[in-house]
């Protein structure tokens, strides 16, 4: 299942790219800017500001999924058993069902539309998510078709998946972008549910397979934005010989609105990190000989 196809993406791999966002992720990072990417099932966005109060959703409801209250339309998420019931029924798109089964043929056709831009910029398609390797069969099917058309593929992954899922895909992937949040397994697991042992295993496997990778670290206040943690991460990366680039991504809270639309709380601060706050780590990593940039 995917949840979005985004054209003209310029910061997730080489050149001009189209990103296919896979739905479902083993991690639950509280800073995730696409919270709708986490569940492997359909989600429902409800944007109250767009609601025009036309009652269409209330009429469709069977189990009081949407009800009318004094403050306008209200959603009872617990009552929703069949999200697809609400697909495309809201005129104003205040209700959006997030998630779509992959139709390879249709999707490839869509991705091919940007072909000339890929060719002229050295770009291609990026699988992101969610976690693309969590759906290896769909990923391979799609990748095979794109490869037949000669379209370059990048994958953005957290690596917290069984090695086999990655192994079968390696030959199709031209660029690995690895989002590494932390190297302290305990901290990682506490905050994101991630399993560092699995991630580390896959990292070493990729190294052994001599697959060059780009590592991207989201720098998050209160999680890894401190000298100890960042130095530990960079020191750890320094022990690899297949890292072509390191990207330090300053924390931002652009995804905050989406949490609201999913009926969830956003627990982190609103204020973004300034690029300058990452400078010391840039210097630290560069000194280690890692080719590092701030931003993607």
């Amino acid at each position: 299942m995917i949840f979005n196809v985004q054209r003209f993406s310029t910061h997730d791999g080489n050149g001009i790219r189209t990103i296919v966002f896979f739905k479902g992720c083993p991690l639950r990072c509280p800073w995730c800017s696409n919270p709708e990417s986490q569940s492997f099932d359909y989600d429902i966005f409800f944007d109250k500001q767009k609601c025009i109060g036309c009652m269409e959703c209330v009429k469709v409801s069977r189990n009081k999924e949407f009800i009318r209250t004094d403050e306008g339309i209200s959603i009872n998420r617990d009552n929703i058993t069949d999200p697809l019931l609400f697909k495309d029924i809201c005129p104003a798109k205040a209700i959006q069902v997030i998630g779509e089964e992959i139709d390879v043929e249709k999707l490839v056709k869509e991705l091919e539309k940007e072909r000339v831009f890929y060719d002229n910029s050295g770009g291609g398609v990026t699988f992101s998510g969610g976690e693309p390797f969590a759906q290896p069969e769909q990923l391979i099917m799609l990748a095979k078709e794109l490869k037949k058309k000669g379209i370059s593929i990048a994958v953005e992954t957290c690596l917290d998946v069984p090695w086999e899922n990655i192994e079968v895909a390696i030959k199709y992937v031209d660029e690995f972008l690895i989002d590494l949040k932390h190297v302290n397994g305990k901290k990682l697991n506490e905050v994101t549910c991630g399993n560092f042992a699995q991630i580390e295993y896959n990292l070493r496997k990729l190294e052994a397979e001599k697959v060059p990778v780009t590592i991207r670290i989201p720098v998050i206040p209160g999680f890894n934005h401190n000298a100890d943690d960042m130095h530990a991460i960079i020191d750890y990366l320094d022990s690899f010989n297949n890292i072509s680039e390191l990207h330090l991504l300053p924390y931002h809270s652009f995804g905050k609105g989406k949490y609201q639309q999913l009926g969830r709380d956003y627990k982190l601060r609103t204020e973004a990190l300034d690029k300058s706050e990452l400078e010391p780590f840039l210097v630290y990593a560069n000194n280690k000989g890692l080719k590092t940039v701030i931003g993607g």
Binding site: R7, F8, T10, G15, I16, I52, C54, P91, K93, S121
Partner: protein, 801 residues
């Protein structure tokens, strides 16, 4: 204001002065023209106008400001728009006391000036081009104009403009040579012959005109000398002496240095705008015709790149001081008071090589450094343009004042050749005004800029059995109402039928306009400087130019496509909306919750132009093609009188017309509410292009761009962050190369200003006095725009990452 741009002290001073001087009106020209017209009432029109021009150039106030390196002036002071009474006076009289109260583009004439205008005007009432135009206009066409379906006011209340003269020739042969050439052809006339007697009036007036221009230049020679004699500062004294010497030289002979050539170019620019108030008077390929002078001077060691830059900067400031006062209704079509004085750089040489030279860079950088709304800088893209030059262009684009815009050789040159333009002329095209194109010095007026046709109104008439809902009149019986159509094809037939009718109406109106301008206000000097007027003994308007193609402007392109797609998909295919429901809601402007619900469905569940969706893109193409094919049938008033062409093509360079044009269109089936702006140029409707700039490029490229030679205007807005880093700029470059070389896009320009900045500027205009935005084919000071145009610009999608 601080000198943040790193300009020289002189340039900073001059820039500040032009930015801080309140626009006013100058009546000197109007007074002289009135006197001459009264005194020489019986004279043939061209001769009368030549004498009026001569007397003006001899008697008008001239000045040289502190530190000026290039000299010349349009009117008695900077930012004073001359009043041109022979074109129109009634609107001026009606609006005189309102000029300083306008929400945008205000003028501040003193009471004294107002009194003079009131004194001059009575003579002109009933004699102006607009009076004559309405007198000649068939009744039904006048009603269509009054209904606001077609707009041509600006074409009757001012001169033509939209032209570039043959700078190359002027700079090569010098002014005296023109007198010789006139004499040569004049001596061959057989005055017993009717046609030759007419030509005699042409030659007589052109000779007066050239001599008048020489006198004007000589006056600056004298003034500079006089000032030099009084000057205590030795450096400045030397500058003034050089200015004087330069003027003395170019008054008769061809320029010998870059400095002289540039000075001559500026004089021409000013005098042609004294002669006529037609805007979009353009410089053509400045980096090409000035380069030999620059190259020679550089080799001879008499110029440095720095000094050349300073001269160019001074020139840009001078031409920003040129102002034009338009009626309020016309102003709304040209928001921000633009003169659209275009400078074109780059492109290819006649033999297909990259034409970019050192001067192209200097022009680009100097425009970037002065950061003003004039000149309107266009770069001709071609596939062999170097990355280096493109990168420099992108760096100027990043400054956020909307320049340069790109035109595309890869589509324009083959398009011109297909029209019958000779290869070497096609390779020499330049942008005129905004984005439209012509061969400089060889093409007649208005390669675009004829009447505006409001596609929104035409579509609504097609859905209402021909009834124009705005005026309540049926100008052309329809093929039924929306509820009567049994298939989408029937609806498309109805559109085709209506648009064909209005195409003919637009041409008829153009014919009236052109006839009146030809008979009453021939441009003397402008004709002298356009091939082959002197040889033929004809003014441009009589068919004197080598080429002559024109176009009108079609407004509401994206709305047309989106409306058709919404009806086809939601009404006829999915039947999600009934015909009755839609018809009712178009009439009542989506009233109430039910109306809003229907509107949201139209907005959200039908494909929108600009998202690379064939469904709507090809539908728009089909609908537009009916208009384009119809225009092939018509010709202009110059047909059969000499020029190659004399036909029409389509054009979408509709400047800021989308806002006032939208204000007279009821609700449309794309979900647009009544009286809100239409989509601008050929750009997607605001906020509907949700897949980003590449998808927009793909959609635009599906239109028959080689048939829209009047310009395929695309405005894109990027947030500044998108091109901040070097790597991002490279990606933008790749995107542009793809758009032009592969997709054969026609034009694109960028607004790189954040939404926040625009909102802040709207709130506190005084802090953002020199904030410039791209309106549509031209840039304007944001704070000069009226609030509705400001809102429209803010609403246009900002593509982020």
């Amino acid at each position: 204001m601080k000198n943040e741009l790193g300009l020289s002290e002189r340039v900073h001073y001059l820039r500040e002065k032009v930015l801080s001087t309140k626009p006013t009106i100058c009546v000197e020209r109007a007074k002289i023209y009135t006197e001459v017209y009264q005194k020489y009432e019986a004279f043939p029109v061209p001769v009368k106008r030549a004498i009026a021009l001569k007397e003006t150039l001899e008697r008008m106030t001239i000045y040289i400001d502190r530190g000026e390196l290039v000299v010349g002036n349009l009117s008695s002071r900077i930012n004073a728009a001359p009043f041109f009474p022979e074109y129109s006076v009634t609107w001026m009289l009606d609006e005189l006391d309102e000029l300083d109260k306008r929400p945008g583009d205000a003028f501040y004439p003193s009471e004294e000036i107002k009194a003079e205008i009131r004194a001059i005007s009575p003579y002109w009432i009933g004699k102006t081009t607009i009076d004559k135009g309405y007198a000649l206009m068939p009744k039904e066409l006048k009603e269509i104009l009054d209904a606001g379906i077609i707009k041509a006011e600006g074409n009757l209340t001012s001169g033509d403009g939209h032209i570039a003269v043959n700078h190359q020739k002027i700079l090569t042969v010098g002014l005296n040579a023109y007198l010789d050439e006139i004499q040569f052809y004049r001596s061959k006339l057989k005055l017993w012959d009717w046609a030759d007697l007419k030509k005699e009036q042409f030659y007589k007036s052109v000779e007066i005109g050239i001599k008048a221009l020489q006198t004007y230049i000589r006056r600056y020679e004298a003034l500079a000398l006089e000032l030099a004699e009084k000057e205590n500062d030795e450096t400045r004294r030397q500058e003034l002496l050089l200015i004087s010497k330069n003027c003395g030289h170019i008054a008769e002979k061809p320029p010998e240095t870059f400095y002289q050539a540039l000075q001559m170019t500026l004089f021409l620019q000013l005098v042609l705008q004294i002669e006529s108030n037609g805007h979009s008077l353009s410089f053509g390929r400045m980096d090409q015709y000035l380069y030999p002078f620059y190259e020679r001077d550089l080799k001879a060691g008499i110029i440095t790149p720095e000094f050349a830059m300073e001269l160019l900067e001074c020139t840009w400031i001078k031409i920003l001081g040129v102002k034009k006062v338009r009626s309020w209704s016309h102003t709304r079509f040209s928001a921000g008071g633009p003169l659209y004085q275009n400078v074109t750089i780059g492109g290819q040489t006649v033999d297909g090589r990259d034409a970019v030279n050192e001067l192209s860079y200097l022009i680009l950088w100097s425009v970037g450094k002065t950061r003003l709304t004039q000149p309107n800088l266009s770069v001709r893209f071609h596939k062999n343009m170097s990355d280096h030059f493109m990168m420099e262009c992108i760096k100027v684009i990043e400054m956020g004042f909307g320049m340069p815009a790109f035109n595309n050789d890869e589509i324009v040159i083959p398009g011109l050749i297909k029209l019958g333009v000779e290869k070497e002329d096609a390779y020499n095209y330049s942008a005129i005004g905004c984005i439209e194109i012509a061969v400089p010095g060889k093409w007649g007026y208005r390669c675009t800029g004829m009447s505006f046709l409001n596609f929104g109104r035409v579509l609504l008439a097609a859905l209402n059995d021909g009834l124009d809902t705005g005026s309540g009149k049926t100008f052309h019986p329809g093929k039924g109402k929306l509820v009567d159509f049994e298939s989408f094809d029937q609806l498309m037939e109805a559109w085709k039928d209506q648009v064909k009718f209005y195409a003919k109406a637009a041409v008829t109106i153009d014919t009236v306009v052109d006839t009146v301008l030809e008979e009453n206000v021939p441009d003397i000097l402008c004709s002298a400087f356009v091939d082959d007027c002197i040889e033929k003994g004809k003014f441009i308007k009589e068919g004197g130019s080598k080429y002559d193609f024109i176009s009108g402007l079609q407004v509401g392109i994206a709305n047309l496509g989106n409306s058709l797609a919404a009806i086809k998909k939601l009404v006829f295919e999915e039947k999600r909306i009934s015909k009755e429901e839609l018809a009712k809601n178009l009439e009542n402007n989506f009233e109430g919750v039910e109306g809003e619900k229907l509107r949201q469905v139209l907005l959200n569940y039908a494909p929108k132009f600009g998202n690379d969706d064939d469904y709507v893109d090809l539908l728009l193409k089909e609908a537009y093609m009916y208009f384009i094919e119809e225009m092939d049938k018509y010709h202009t008033t110059r047909f059969g009188r000499g020029p190659i062409g004399c036909g029409y093509y389509a054009g979408t360079s509709s400047i800021s017309a989308n806002v006032p044009s939208g204000s007279v269109v009821g609700a449309t089936p794309d979900g647009r509410k009544a009286y809100t702006p239409l989509a601008e140029g050929c750009s997607p409707s605001s906020g509907t292009d949700i897949l980003g700039p590449t998808a927009v490029f793909k959609s635009i490229a599906k239109l028959p761009t080689d048939k829209i030679m009047g310009g395929v205007l695309l405005n894109q807005k990027l947030s500044p962050a998108v091109i901040k880093e070097e790597a991002d700029k490279r990606k933008l470059m790749a995107m542009l190369r793809t758009f032009f070389a592969d997709l054969k896009g026609w034009h694109v320009q960028y607004n790189i200003v954040s939404r926040e900045t625009l909102l802040a500027a709207k709130k506190e205009p005084e802090k953002y006095r020199d904030l410039i935005v791209r309106v549509a084919g031209y840039s304007a000071f944001f704070t000069n725009l009226s609030p509705d145009t400001q809102d429209d610009i803010i609403a246009r999608t900002e593509h982020t990452l």
